[in-house]
Symmetry: C2
Subunit: 424 residues, 2 copies
């Protein structure tokens, strides 16, 4: 991004993050922090993602071929903003994906990301019934169109090339490839016997990104889709390629984020975060979950929040939420809320664990309100005041200042009686 | 426990845990594994807790002064068993706590724990309106009565003595003391100016525990109730005392578990687990959460599952669940289910991360079913088949073998088309 032209924006972000402006600028120059913002967009809540910043949370929105209501997606956007999403991605693959993107770009006060290959694939599927009609030109045109519309960051699946595919083909995974973008490109590459256009024409993509100041999120087509496939040769081979592409992007002044797993047991997360930081020149790490087990159907927001919190502690900067609907259906508005709150907790847990002193302020406020048994203040400071209030008031409170769990035997109240001893 | 008398029980457990019987026996002798089971109880699902065993989950049940329905508590027990609780604790503090305990002991196929000081406190409060009428004799009698009834493990708050209290009084915590048992004993100790009977008469308690083969869970009255209070001098001073008491218990042949935090940011969990193992002779560590932030009202099962999974990875053996109702109300049946499933995920994530190869089998089964898009098999292998099924079938499936999220663009289906390439 053009740092000097965006100085007032950066001042606001530095203030918000409680870091010095010079520090922020230096990190953006080094590529360890990005501010995803298209030069054409004016939004109220831009954010900085990366080293030394608060951990951020992304919400995936967007229709599918089976559920393409625009109203529903805008409700999801509104819930996302209400509960504190830092960015949203429109992953629509329904027929009306252009209208949805336009509406989300108009209404979102936070940065908006997309996966341009989806639009290309949906169009090809509608028109020809397959992907092989896609040309590199279609892809570049779509990327440029979306950049012109104001999209702030793109997922570009450029880590899949003939070399990484070769490693992948020998890997014998349980789940092979679970990336949608990756699967589309794999089909195209095999049908055409050609190189992945997102890799081959990476310089062209950099030119577009540079012109519109779009941040590139380098997609991980080979992310593990099962804990049994995690940290294998295919995944790391792709990471190495993404590291080389990061260097090319940095040299052209394009901001880069690296996407990461996926499904991965807890013992491998620290290694993966370290490897990403080392191999990709400290570029911000954007993790999907990771889900720490494959078996949590209906509760993948919890399996994901566990992995995300620990990844954030280890240095991941940007968490892509997972909802309870993952692997089962397109998320509803309620699923979006559940997933987002789980990941807000994970991000905050990461901030505390990384020693962000400012993050402790809210915990102290809640704890002091709890100590005073000031219920309303606790509710207001929580992620979801309505739920907390409804939970508390479900039971009649026979004793006014305690909850129905301990009631007469409330430890806080009992210890308050001993105050004299405690302050001696 | 008397290992040779219980040999057929241990054979069953060793088989279930997939460890050699001799290994299990040796670990029980060393005190790094416990099998909480009163000599009077016969249950279908005993379990081993500790080093090299699968991570276990406890569910807290029990009435409060404001909600004392016995039927409700038995429903919670039944849900706990359905969703895989390894043990339950009856923490009743309502008037009918004896009947509830009796019913739970009768109906529970898994080990049952209690906190005997609660019964003593409830009785004193009912009869005299305060705790100062309690005598050490009352406490020892209640412990013996409950042991005779068949309780398998007791929480004994013996880590609070005049020395640890002294350190605590100088600590100036945000939340002071949040342990209910600890708060009752603190009030008693200050009112009477006497030593904590659970500490003073620890040898008597060991005699009872030895006679009935009750496992002692040494309670942490000084566990942090805010992330700001974690790992402070008071907490560690108490841990040191618990280590000394562990040694005394082991020397009398009494099985011991150590209770741990509480509220604690992720960066302190590894240190806490290591400290417990070192200071308490490798006795199994039983953690309450830990909650990785104070601000997750209504979602404390998620904040707790994050901490629990990481604690398990670091070596914690036994996870006490936390429900969404924590800090707000006595949990409902639904809250119990939500909390338990979150902690089953955490325990399983811990097993995977600790490299338990057998734990990977279920992930492989789910992933292979997912790869085949065999939905019913996935549902059946998940923690909550009904929820998974309901989620999947909420949307009409226009295409039968995929879900409504990716639909036509299902990556698994797209990659299956490339099978020839992948198996070359």
């Amino acid at each position: 991004m053009d740092i000097e032209k965006r100085i007032s924006l950066l001042e606001k972000i530095a203030q918000d993050e409680k870091v010095a402006l010079e520090t922020l600028k230096e990190k953006i120059r080094q590529g360890t922090v990005v501010v995803p913002l298209n030069k054409k967009r004016k939004i109220n809540h831009p954010c900085a993602i990366g080293e030394g910043m608060r951990v951020k949370v992304n919400v995936n929105l967007g229709s599918s071929w089976e559920a393409d209501g625009i109203e529903e997606e805008l409700k999801k956007l509104s819930v996302s903003i209400k509960y504190g999403a830092d960015t949203v991605m429109d992953l629509s693959t329904g027929k009306n994906l252009k209208e949805i993107r336009k509406a989300i770009l108009e209404q979102s006060p936070v940065p908006v990301g997309t996966v341009p290959i989806y639009e290309v694939a949906v169009k090809a599927m509608e028109e020809k019934g397959n992907f092989s009609s896609i040309t590199p030109r279609d892809i570049l045109q779509t990327i440029e169109e979306q950049a012109r519309e104001g999209v702030d960051f793109f997922t570009i699946h450029c880590g899949l090339n003939r070399k990484t595919l070769e490693v992948f083909s020998r890997q014998k995974r349980v789940m092979d490839m679970v990336s949608r973008g990756g699967a589309i490109l794999l089909n195209w590459m095999l049908a055409k016997n050609k190189e992945n256009p997102l890799y081959e024409y990476f310089d062209k993509i950099l030119e577009i990104a540079k012109e519109y100041e779009v941040t590139l999120s380098l997609g991980d087509s080979l992310r593990p889709g099962s804990v049994l496939d995690a940290t294998d040769r295919a995944q790391i081979e792709e990471l190495i390629l993404l590291g080389e592409l990061t260097q090319r992007a940095h040299s052209k002044g394009v901001q880069v984020i690296i996407e990461g797993p996926g499904h991965m047991a807890l013992d491998q997360i620290e290694t993966n975060v370290l490897a990403e930081k080392k191999i990709c020149q400290g570029a911000p790490f954007y993790v999907l979950g990771p889900l720490v087990t494959d078996i949590a159907l209906g509760y993948d927001h919890i399996a994901g929040a566990i992995g995300a919190a620990y990844a954030a502690y280890c240095g991941a900067d940007f968490l892509c939420y997972v909802t309870p609907a993952e692997h089962l259906r397109l998320p509803t508005v309620e699923d979006v809320k559940e997933g987002l709150i789980a990941f807000k907790i994970a991000a905050h847990a990461g901030d505390l664990a990384r020693g962000n002193k400012h993050a402790y302020i809210r915990d102290e406020q809640v704890s002091r309100a709890r100590k005073k048994r000031n219920w309303e203040e606790q509710f207001e400071l929580s992620f979801d005041p309505e739920k907390a209030r409804a939970y508390y008031f479900r039971d009649r409170q026979k004793i006014k200042d305690v909850c129905s769990m301990c009631s007469k035997f409330c430890s806080i109240k009992l210890v308050d009686k001993c105050r004299k001893f405690l302050i001696k």
